[in-house]
Symmetry: C2
Amino acid sequence: MLEKTPETALRDTVHPFDRATQVHAGDGGWRGEASADYFAFVGPFGGATAATMLRAILIQPERIGDPLSVTVNFCAPVGNGSFDLAVRLMKATRSTQHWMVELLQNGEIATFMTAVFAARRPSWSHQAATMPDAPPFDQVKPIPNNLVAPWAQQYQFRFVEGAPSYSDTVNDTPASAYSRMWLSDTQPRPIDFLSLLSMSDSFFARIFHVLGAIVPIGTVSMTTVFHADAADLAAENTTAVLGAADASIFHKSFSDQTGELWSPSGRLLATTSQVVYFKA
Amino acid sequence: MLEKTPETALRDTVHPFDRATQVHAGDGGWRGEASADYFAFVGPFGGATAATMLRAILIQPERIGDPLSVTVNFCAPVGNGSFDLAVRLMKATRSTQHWMVELLQNGEIATFMTAVFAARRPSWSHQAATMPDAPPFDQVKPIPNNLVAPWAQQYQFRFVEGAPSYSDTVNDTPASAYSRMWLSDTQPRPIDFLSLLSMSDSFFARIFHVLGAIVPIGTVSMTTVFHADAADLAAENTTAVLGAADASIFHKSFSDQTGELWSPSGRLLATTSQVVYFKA
């Protein structure tokens, strides 16, 4: 029986998502790495890239409070290998901070993020929206995990409505853009801000659903708003969320996409919207 | 009869919105001014500030295409008087540009914007969403124009559903967060990207609707996505839009808000979302 080296032990104990989104100190800044485990078609999965950038803010010693709103702009594909992360506190008030992170490869910006952090205070509370219907998580089967892209193998998708059924030809009439699914890490991991941000980008492109076929796409800009703070998330203590996604319009090569991430207890944890380039 | 000076003539012919959002070259950068015409309670109306910043990008000689997605973060109140605008092209590809604008007063960032511009190409087109019902614009009366804040006098709000009815005491049970209205400049002005962005921030705070009372609020971050390019907007040739707004949750001092802006012909021109601080 082989004895484990410390490095192998780390690989076994650290969750693949935490390994993929790790950040370490570099020459006068921070560095991350495009993880093969979370690769998509032309670069790393945007959700993992965004989570890496958010982590770079979370570990800053002067950070206060929790992420409230995050916008990430995908300017150019991130390539293999490592990247630099330039982290900047744009403005701080007593209870709010505005951060910016630039991801650079070969000196060029490939992605950047702006994020609002806030120390949230108790207030009047009211959830106007209600959780969409869904059978319990364990009563829905995940779709087969032999999908093309490595990143999609890191998640389990248990569709309640709008399960993907793609063919080589597009639909004669557009199908619904709406879908709803339980979503979890394949290796269970408690939901936190990093995974919520990554999961915000895990909805299959709405154009695939509407056309019934896979076409070239790319997220251009994504905004995620968190409706729970760290204490709320800890209280939920869940490894799965119910995700619902929809789109309003596909026009002149761009589409919108909106999404919601719900805890099994019926709490709205995050809402998200993105602009997606498509070729069709 | 007094003869008009050139300056007075300019005041008469330039629309108040264009006057409020003008940008001129300053010392090595660009400058704008907080317009008294569009003042809110503690500073200029965020919509006008955002439009000024977007204009600073639109006038850049290297700008290509039209605004696609704009995120503006309101970090601190903008004070009276002028401000500096630092405009930076973060990254350009063949058909897409990522811009950033920082608004500074006394050397401190008060607001910043990131914007994606794109030269939109013809594609398969499909509007999945349908326009909410509404009587024609001219069959709905605007609410009285003697509102407290100057900025609100620059617009006409013709409510179809969820007309504001605020009192000094909050509702016993939360009312609906949803409202729908025709929206236009008080002095008619053709809808363009600048006015769509400003109008994105013109929905009354959802907490007012839900509580039935005015409480302290402030927009923290707003994202607007345009679903029409300049040619599409020119073809619509309208001075009014139908605006619908809603919210999902009010929790620990922050609320979300989503909105849609429709042309009278039934085209979805823009969708918007924002995070709002509230005290209640």
